[in-house]
Amino acid sequence: MAERSFKKEVQKLKLGEGDVFHGEGILAVTKALLQSGVSYVAGYQGAPISHLMDVLTDANDILQELGVHFEHSASEATAAATLAASVHYPLRGAVTFKSTVGTNVASDALANLASGGVTGGALIIVGEDYGEGSSIMQERSHAFAMKSQMWLLDPRPNLPSIVRAVEQGFALSEISNTPVMLELRIRACHVHGRFTAKSNVRPSFTLKDAIENPVRDVSRIVLPPASYLHEREKIEKRWPAAQAFIRGHGLNELFAADAADFGIILQGGMYNTTVRALGLLGLSDVFGDTQVPLYVLNVTYPLVDHEVLRFSASKRAVLLIEEGQPDFLEQNLHSILRKAGLATTVHGKDVLPMAGEYTAAVVTSGILKFIERYAPQRIDRAHLPAVVRPAAPKPPALEALDRQIHARPPSFCTGCPERPIFTAMKLVERELGSHHVSCDIGCHLFSILPPFNIGATTMGYGLGWAGAAAFNTQETAKRTISIMGDGGFWHNGLTSGVGNAVFNQNDSLLVVVDNAYTAATGGQDILSSQAANPIRTTRLSIADAVRGVGVKWVRSITRTYDVAAMRDVFRDALTTHEKGPKVIVAQSECMLNRQRRVEPQLRKSAAEGRRVVRERFGVDADTCTGDHSCIRLSGCPSLTIQPNPDPLRQDPVATVIDSCVGCGLCGEVAHAAVLCPSFFRTEVISNPTAWERLKARVRNSVIAFLQRRISASHAS
């Protein structure tokens, strides 16, 4: 069960011809797939396309009615290989993943797919995780399109354009026998808008038809001599076919093409930002009626030479707005213009930065520099927008602000079961000194930030243990520690990490953080998830898998909140004389998902009169001395500070706020690290039994009597 449910929204997927769809970009993409007669969809979750996977999961019934097969792929490589179904058969297929990390993983399959080419439309929807809020290395998907010669769509970020890109992407793929990548920037994925829907289309040629009538065509298989022919075919047939289609169907768009003797060429995804920038400079209205000619590349690869030349021929200069680096498009543009002998000046990364997100502020500044050079009279210097005005001196009230604002990086959620694993590591560090820690991808990577400050490298999803492979020497008894999540484990870690360590006789420790979901991507199910999933096989054991690959030393901790047990197993793994790879499987359910699962049940039980116990933690302010060790060993959002109620004390005291879910870590830490006696756990019992009520009455009267005696003795 994913973190967010789309059960309600997926009903919008049933909208018919002429209905107006309101919703998120991702949902619109799903609708567009169904309108395009897609036969199968696969993918691997990850921001910003996690919701696409979640929508498809919740829409499984609707998909089945249309004969569409949907799969949660084991990895992006699996997803990309799934497109093999479109090689020989006229089946439309789509896969989706986070880019560029997912595209990296998928590259092998994508290169093979692109070499042989496709018969049915093959669409690769990549969520471009670039710029603000990104959690990955800053690279471009563009390079993958270029190296394998797949076409790259980068539509304007509004719902009609995105939907059109899906529909036209399939057609382009079929006409040029080439897989097509559809790049959606993070904000476009989450943009809310509207478009006029069409009816869903059941594919005329189905998976059943393909399975029952198998086809093979040796010329589509990547083996010599066909592979040599594929390369020629890409250049001689597929490329021109694609360019002809892009031209013929107007995939790229022109606005006010002849309005001036200078113009802007831009990636489709940059359109809204560019129009806003022009608007701020007084060069466009809110409807995009621009004074500056715009050539919008909804297809960023390949460029259509004819279109580029036609747009540029009448211009003294063009500005290319190309987000990201290297400046592939700019180089390409130069090449096209110079080969044709055009003298049009090209601006791009000279007035815009080479690296970093092209925010509205950045684009406004770049366009201003460009216009000032070619039509300075069009700029009303008296009314420049704030973002390009020279900064006014700051009022004193704002001067002081900068020092007071702290970074607020993401962190483990309240009650996260991964936190105690790192608390235990901190405690072991106190005894055994620090260790080299190789991290992985997942929520557990937050360990590198305060308060834990644990972890040295991260080499990619599932590659935590592989990242420590070199530290394998007889010259020291000290061991390295590697981290891997359950998501990364099933993605590839079982082979790339565990198998590798067994085969190479590694003597280090792997901790598999098993929280029963791919939690960081939004709580999707995997093989070891504990929930019964009607459309997937779950509840398989990571420990069994690890033993199956040949690890002898395997320990499972089934309640990570038991910090003392976690600490002891760490100590054991790091100090045992037994040689060979060691694996600790640390299991506790992701608290975010657990709360979503359990909370409604508890509320229902209590309302129905059944006995329900709710736990939460608290700190006694009068025994807390404000040292905050507990926070340094936890970092829980619910464990925070408050002003000291004691007029004599000045340092703030620890406090547990209402969001506490009673995971128990505070108390465990207080014990395991021998901190202080300030923590207490409250149990609130709804619908107590008659015996409990009686017992409570007796206790309360005796305790109240004694408490009156205490007050009397203090007063004396």
Binding site: P157, L280, I631, G635, P652
Partner: protein
């Protein structure tokens, strides 16, 4: 099935530059709204309500966000634009709405927390020409603020002053508390405050309809909305009155031991009082009272068993009359702490006798959870608390009072040559806090600083030096910063004789 061509390359008609369509009396720019929140704190709900509100009120609305990992407690921005459909119809076109906020171009900024409001101002999103800033004044402390050994909280007043300087209209209140009182979430209270500002061209009923259509926790949201609506004008809370330190100290020590103990406290302070330095007296009085009421097992057991505590916890748990509340205390008495409350000789014997010590250690190897609301649990703590009359004879009492006298004796001596340094000496007991290892580390640091006094007394800037060392001791719990500071201190050029 290739789709129909819709945007042919040659299809677009270029337009003369000076003839842009202008629609009179209709807005030419969208309304822009940014919501700054922390992941999982209701920013998304607020954005959804605003979106629904706008779309149902005849507006185009577009919202975007950058969720991803920021959802996990990091700061995140939701951005909305709204544009009237009537204006679009008159122009015969759809507006092109932006996907991210532009500094200086925001009409409304909502911040779900005070530092996030500061962040919005820092990013230039709040400007005096147009921005209505609605901020909750409660704090969600940053990791830096939370993990400090002492007090690293930033000054709230800076944010409030910045808000007043940066915004056209600054509405601020503790919307978290307002929402809590209404039994709802902060987004509803902020939504109410926004409605009350009139910054959006919609009526209150339209706002409420959006909540109703949202369909989750509607009644509680209405309460919080109404409270938020009427909160905007509420004056900021006044600072708590300055407490009389001596008054508080006497109260504390009487409760800690007895009235005689409080009288002894006043006696101990006499030499300091005689110095006639009010600041020095204040700080010495504060730390002397705290030190004299050191946290031993008797004190902890006493505090844990008080009626007022039971009532407070019951209230905080929000349990109804039909619900039972049980309190489980996490305690970890170790052999040292047990010896501390024994008579001095016996305590000393326990610590120095190997077999006795081992025996006790066997029973104190693990932390204990005492159910204080059960008879057995309560009586155990009650028994320990009843040792109070014998505390004066305990091992710990004698140890602490010896150290207290040593520290106290230094103050008049130092004050005679360097009053500023004396004030810093008075503040040094701040280092001693916590229990067990934490307490031992604090005491060690305190001793180190006091040992540096002879040298500090010879320095003109001794006060600043001692302050610097004290802050270094509070900077981390590994002692690294203090070690560095001490190394620098020792290398400091000596004053020529």
């Amino acid at each position: 099935m290739p789709p129909e061509p819709q945007y042919c390359f040659t299809h677009e008609v270029s337009r003369p530059i000076d003839n842009r369509p202008q629609v009179d009396n209709l807005p030419h720019a969208p309304i822009t709204v940014a919501i700054l929140a922390m992941g999982g704190e209701g920013g998304g709900v607020l954005a959804d309500w605003l979106l629904d509100l706008a779309e149902r009120s005849g507006y185009y609305a577009q919202t975007t966000s950058v969720p991803g990992v920021a959802q996990r407690t990091g700061s995140t921005i939701y951005y909305l634009e709204m544009f009237p459909e009537s204006a679009a119809r008159a122009a015969g076109k759809e507006p092109v709405l932006a996907l991210m906020p532009v500094p200086g171009e925001l009409d409304i900024v909502l911040a779900s927390e005070l530092m996030e409001a500061g962040r919005a101002i820092q990013r230039g999103l709040v400007t005096p020409d147009r921005t209505t800033l609605i901020a909750s004044t409660h704090r969600v402390y940053s990791m830096t603020e939370k993990t400090a050994i002492g007090d690293a909280r930033v000054d709230d007043a800076t944010f409030l002053e910045a808000g007043r300087a940066a915004a056209k209209n600054f509405v601020h209140a503790d919307f978290a508390a307002i929402a809590r009182e209404a039994g709802s979430v902060i987004s509803a209270a902020l939504f109410g405050a926004l409605a009350a500002t009139g910054a959006l061209p919609f009526e209150r009923a339209q706002f409420e309809d959006a909540i109703r259509r949202g369909g989750v926790g509607v009644d509680a949201s209405f309460r919080a909305f109404a409270a938020g609506w009427s909160s905007g004008a509420a004056p900021a809370g006044t600072a708590p009155a300055v407490q009389d330190i001596l008054q508080a100290a006497i109260q504390r020590l009487t409760g800690y031991q007895d009235a005689r103990y409080a009288a002894e406290y006043l006696d101990l302070l006499k030499p300091i009082r005689a110095l006639g330095d009010p600041a020095l007296l204040n700080e010495t009085a504060r730390y002397l009272a705290l030190w004299m009421s050191y946290e031993d097992a008797i004190r902890v057991a006493d505090l844990k068993t008080r009626r007022a505590r039971f009532d407070r916890i019951h209230q905080e748990s929000r349990a109804g009359t039909a619900q039972l509340v049980q309190i489980n205390d996490y305690v970890y008495p170790r052999v040292g702490e047990l010896a501390d409350i024994l008579p001095a000789a016996l305590g000393q014997w326990l610590l120095s006798t190997v077999w006795a010590r081992r025996l006790v250690e066997r029973f104190t190897r693990h932390g204990k959870i005492v159910e204080t609301t059960s008879l057995g649990g309560f009586l155990r703590l009650y028994a320990v608390a009843s040792l109070r009359p014998w505390r004066r004879r305990s091992l710990r009492f004698q140890r602490e009072h010896r150290k207290i006298r040593e520290w106290l004796a230094q103050i008049p001596e130092v004050a005679a040559v360097n009053p500023a340094l004396a004030r810093e000496v008075a503040e040094c007991p701040r280092l001693i806090k916590g229990y067990g290892d934490t307490h031992a580390r604090g005491t060690r640091n305190f001793d180190t600083l006091i040992a540096a006094l002879p040298r500090l007394r010879t320095m003109d800037d001794g006060a600043a030096q001692l302050k610097y060392l004290r802050e270094a001791a509070l900077a981390d719990d590994t002692g690294q910063k203090l070690a560095e500071a001490l190394a620098r201190f020792r290398a400091w050029p000596r004053k020529p004789a």
